[in-house]
Amino acid sequence: MATVKEVRVRRSVAPRFELRRMKRRNILPTILVSLVGFLIMLLFLLPLGYMLTLAFKPEEQLSAQNAPLWPAKAVTYNYEGKDLPLYNVPTADGVKQWALVKGYREDADFIDPSNVNNGVFNWKGRYRVLDPVYTFAPVFDNFTAAWNEVNFPLLFRNTFVIAVISTIGTLISCIMVAYAFARFKIPGKNFLFILLISTIVLPPQATIIPLFIAFAKIGWAGTWLPLLVPAFFANAYDVFLLRQYFMGIPKELDEAAEVDGANPLRTLVWVIVPQAIPAITAVTLFHFFYTWNDYFNPLVYLVGKEDLYPISVGIAKFVSTYGSHPTRAMATAVLTMILPAILFFLAQRQFMQGVVSTGVEK
């Protein structure tokens, strides 16, 4: 009890501390730390940059010489009915953009689009080492190609249904169990809690074979049931996170509700749950991402049932075709991560609060 109050007091004092810190903040460390942070961030998100640029590149650009890193199109100039490629040509008065009419080994015929009346003229030098002029031009061909190759609407629908149902199951069961551990006197509760935590260590390999056999025996193989039903029986990670958060909610609140005649279930729904929204958001997202991500369970239980595949298993074949169609593979990666990423950005404030404040503070 005392610790709860202490924490609250400290939190309410926090803004004033922040103010004092702000005043003391020097400009030099701020620039230095932020710059280092920014560089680390760039390096860390480099793969995402690679993915995005490739996903929007036309496939021809990969083999083009001197093409820029970003999705781009070579600029052409129409001269007498022909599309001529533009090159950056270094001259005595700076770099000029000229259109190539005819190229030879050691010289080339150019025309200057800004001065057409000058006519075609000869330039001494190797045109092949010149940089072509490119403009930023993202294409969506890779997305349509990926979309046509696998049935994305079906994959999205399957993943979504599996993720939503199993997340609901996880929420209901984990909230109940966390409530039991946080608020009820149960004989042997400490032992049970240690038992719960120790299941985190349990390798899934130790249980999957009997589960596989049992699910096949009762006719659940090749259905979503093995992916959905276990979610309704709680899991250690989420129970732990919720219980930590529930413990921080003042007991007076639920005692007041119970004096007013609410039974524990009503107390849970109307007092505890509204107080624990950050932690519940965190658990919701954790589990949603987990299901979206899960590859192993669908692989084992949905063998051969392509119309039931979630997105993870459905797109796995792109991994082996990466070599032949890298841009398409990147477009697929974008399609796969777009929904989790958007969800995360929408809920990140609540999510961070839920995870950081419960954390493993003990």
Binding site: G37, M41, F184, P204, M337, F344, V355, G359
Partner: protein, 323 residues
């Protein structure tokens, strides 16, 4: 127990109140058990019973090509266990797993802590944006992550080697070189350290500011404050993260399966123990031997965790005083 003992000691002083009190307690116990029941049923059905059954299967030669029924398999005694000792693939695959773990655990200890220190720094502009973006790769599905890393680690066109080239370093062939395939997978895993970072962040924020202020008054600089206050104060969380990292590393294999296929390409260098288990169970359908492999993993993980806790109890500082 306690109630009956009380009853015999103080015979019927205020029976109505006492009755009601015990009835209320009984009622609350029932509610508590009701709320606990999903986990407890799940523990029995999806964890305890299956483990016992795995143990049972390890004494059989059951193959998943046939339906599970008596008559479709034989009891083979300890021959699956004897096979463990003559199977060279076990040592190889355990070696791959350990190599991965030995890189993953130090990385998972240091990098998320550095990130947490960075996003917790009062000198950082817009720390919320940094937190969000550092966490972002954690929500990216592993299949998408594998697709991206195949590209970015490509020895010719990948950006990582391109970057190394700027510094004059000839980058390795990463995923296609048996030497470098494991570190490449470590890089892929390092991308998803958001959870560890947030756990550290929570710990850093719970260190009382008075400690730092007192140390500053005593003339301790930033480095000393970090090693003599921050590290001891967050040591329980460091310990927790190390345990989690070890367990996660021992369960890692999906990315390896996606990249190296069922043979652990290149040249078996990514044949993780769990991949080997998956092959025996779900490719070769050898459920009897696979159960034995699963139990071996179970025992190894248990021993590791016990050792970690033995060591952890001694090296962790608990501010609350309790162990």
């Amino acid at each position: 127990m306690a109630v009956t003992k009380n009853d015999t000691q103080t015979p019927i002083l205020m029976p109505t109140i006492k009755d009601r009190r015990s009835r209320v307690a009984m009622q609350r116990l029932k509610w508590g058990l009701f709320f606990l029941s999903p986990w407890f049923i799940g523990l029995l059905t999806f964890q305890l019973l299956p483990i016992i059954f795995t143990f049972f299967l390890s004494f059989t030669n059951y193959s998943a090509t046939k339906e599970f029924a008596f008559g479709n398999f034989d009891f083979v005694g300890l021959s699956n266990y004897a096979r463990l000792f003559s199977d060279p693939d076990i040592l190889n695959s355990m070696g791959v797993t350990i190599k991965y773990t030995l890189i993953a655990v130090p990385l998972g200890l240091v990098v998320p802590l550095l990130f947490a220190l960075l996003v917790n720094s009062r000198h950082l502009i817009a720390p919320n944006i940094f937190r969000t973006l550092f966490f972002l790769p954690t929500v990216i599905p592993v299949v998408a992550g594998v697709l991206v890393f195949q590209g970015v680690l490509n020895s010719q066109s990948g950006w990582i080697n391109g970057l190394l080239k700027i510094f004059g370093i000839e980058g390795p062939r990463w995923l296609s070189d048996p030497m470098w395939a494991i570190p490449a997978l470590n890089l892929l895993s390092l991308w998803a350290i958001g959870n560890l970072m947030l756990i550290y962040l929570g710990a850093l924020q719970s260190v009382p500011t008075e400690l730092y202020e007192a140390a500053t008054l005593d003339g301790a600089g930033g480095v000393r404050r970090f090693f003599f206050i921050t590290i001891p104060m967050i040591s329980p969380v460091i310990f927790y993260n190390v345990v989690l990292s070890v367990i996660n590393a021992f369960q890692f294999f999906v990315a390896a399966l996606l990249i190296g296929g069922r043979n652990g390409d290149p040249q078996g260098s990514t044949m993780f123990y769990n991949l080997y288990f998956y092959r025996q169970a779900f490719v070769f359908n050898d459920m009897g031997y696979a159960s034995t492999l699963a139990l071996l993993l179970f025992v190894i993980v248990m021993i590791l965790t016990t050792l970690l806790f033995r060591f952890g109890q001694r090296s962790v500082y608990y501010a609350g005083g309790e162990a």
